[in-house]
Symmetry: C2
Subunit: 311 residues, 2 copies
């Protein structure tokens, strides 16, 4: 697929994923309208909808026939993972954490709605993610046709675990701890942070898509490894761009990690080894991907675009 | 049951519920140990374990025979509701919300572990609640014996909804909004806050206990009304005690609501009408309770102790 076609396709899918999440957002009325407004503001502030797009594409790899029941369940999970990703950004931006006032050129949620509402909007989104998953389970439940229920249950287990203390929250904890210290993180700690703070939700996206699409246990394991490689390569690439990138193209200051005395993959291992590691992770992911059935063109291009991006 | 026996029984059950929650708390090791420590600190800081006790007692009303599978599922939900209650306190205490430094005589989580870790510990507990529910679903799932799965799915839907923007988070939003304004809340808004911030999780405790114990749809509806009455009466009683109570017995200053210019049921309707309303709510709850089968002595005493307490 050439670059222009790929970007068009990606935009189309991201837009569809945005529409899906929107469908699950609450009405803004009554005494709770303010928190609902803040939740909506946070979700609609933009973003590439990367996690639901990856989930959808993985589902399509394995589910080769139209199946409206599993597709409906998938949409619930697509919305849920985007809500979880969004809540993590909303809380990350709080004064108690990164103290960011802008994200993607817009005021952050706490800056726009106040700090207390920032806390509540994040809580509301995390909770709504699980309400949405419970909705998928309720719809899928059918005593005479129980397989989809089983898949949804496995998917709920994986998504909640990858978002929790063994996953994303664990990574945020380690990141917060490292930032509060004088000594920068060493390579093990840095890898832990990258793998948990970023890679875990990518893994969950691929695994949930696979499970709902009917992938087997071996395939789910491969999807987890692909997700881990892609997430880690994405973060190392981030570290590389912080040194070599173009501020204008990136939309943020280059060299900010070094200026903040923050350990990065590049500061620890150097540029050349970092480039090599991205290459290695990416090749391994691609090899694993090739073992799957189905049309892999778009998802291959998507993964490559994440890893090899210049912005 | 006389007062001494009742208190002994209540303590025994609260202790059992505390043990149950503890079983689902994470190991404190590795790079995420700090957030796990803060989560444990928050849960073990004490508390009456009211919600899991109510859930357990309601379950026992309906499940008259030993059934280890549904009891195991129940324990997951008992732990989950206590985690949700605890996270709501941890986030409520944050500087961005109530800015409390002590709770039950101990430092609040953010004061002990820092503000960022306070945010993360709350997130971690809310997420863990749903991991724990997903665990119940995974264990209950059995294609040949699907009824318990169905019950767990309904319970997950109710607990997540009662904790979310239509429930507890909605109440917190309205409370935060009212506190940020010059004009105190009117009676509709105050009732909304009490019903959502407090009553919704009490409703969920009773409903989930009923569902897992095998209660029918009519009975679940009654349990919701009992929970609503108990939660509301509990809060009005709180407002009454703020005027008539004994500071030493209550462990907090009497008259603090009036001093803060906060609307309460008493400030709007007066003491006499407040007492009458508590009486009315309590009698209605008791009447509904009497329509159920089973030994109701303890749960009746428990509800009475909540509503008629002097501290």
């Amino acid at each position: 697929m050439d670059n222009k076609d790929f970007n068009e396709e990606l935009n189309k899918r991201a837009e569809y994923c945005g529409e899906v999440v929107k469908r699950f957002l609450p009405e803004k009325e009554g005494y709770a309208s303010r928190v609902c407004e803040a939740m909506e503001y946070s979700v609609l502030a933009g973003g590439k909808r990367l996690r639901p797009v990856l989930m959808l594409e993985t589902y399509n790899l394995f589910c080769r026939e139209e199946d409206s029941a599993s597709l409906e369940a998938l949409e619930h999970f697509m919305a849920a993972i985007e809500m979880i990703h969004t809540y993590s950004l909303v809380h990350d931006d709080l004064p108690a954490m990164d103290n960011d006032e802008y994200r993607r050129g817009k005021l952050t949620t706490w800056k726009r709605y106040g700090e207390g509402m920032g806390v509540l909007a994040g809580d509301g989104l995390l909770n709504l993610a699980f309400e949405t998953i419970a909705g998928a389970l309720n719809k899928a439940y059918n005593p005479l046709k129980i397989e989809l229920t089983g898949r949804c249950i496995r998917a709920a287990g994986i998504l909640s675990e990858k978002a929790g203390y063994l996953g994303m929250i664990g990574g945020q904890c380690a990141d917060l701890e490292a930032e509060g210290r004088e000594t920068p993180a060493d390579i093990d700690e840095l890898l832990y942070i990258h793998e948990h703070k970023t890679a875990c939700l990518i893994e969950a996206a691929l695994m949930v898509g696979g499970i709902l699409g009917g992938a087997g246990a071996d395939e789910i394991e491969k999807l987890e490894r692909i997700g881990s490689n892609v997430g880690l390569a994405f973060q190392i690439r981030d570290d590389i761009l912080d040194v070599t990138g173009n501020s204008k193209e990136l939309g943020k200051n280059v060299g900010s990690d070094a200026a903040n005395g923050k350990a990065t993959y590049v500061s620890i291992n150097g540029l050349e080894a970092s480039d090599k590691e991205v290459q290695r992770l990416s090749e391994e992911a691609e090899k694993l991907l090739e073992t799957f059935p189905g049309e892999k063109g778009f998802i291959r291009d998507l993964i490559a675009s994440l890893i090899l991006r210049t912005k």
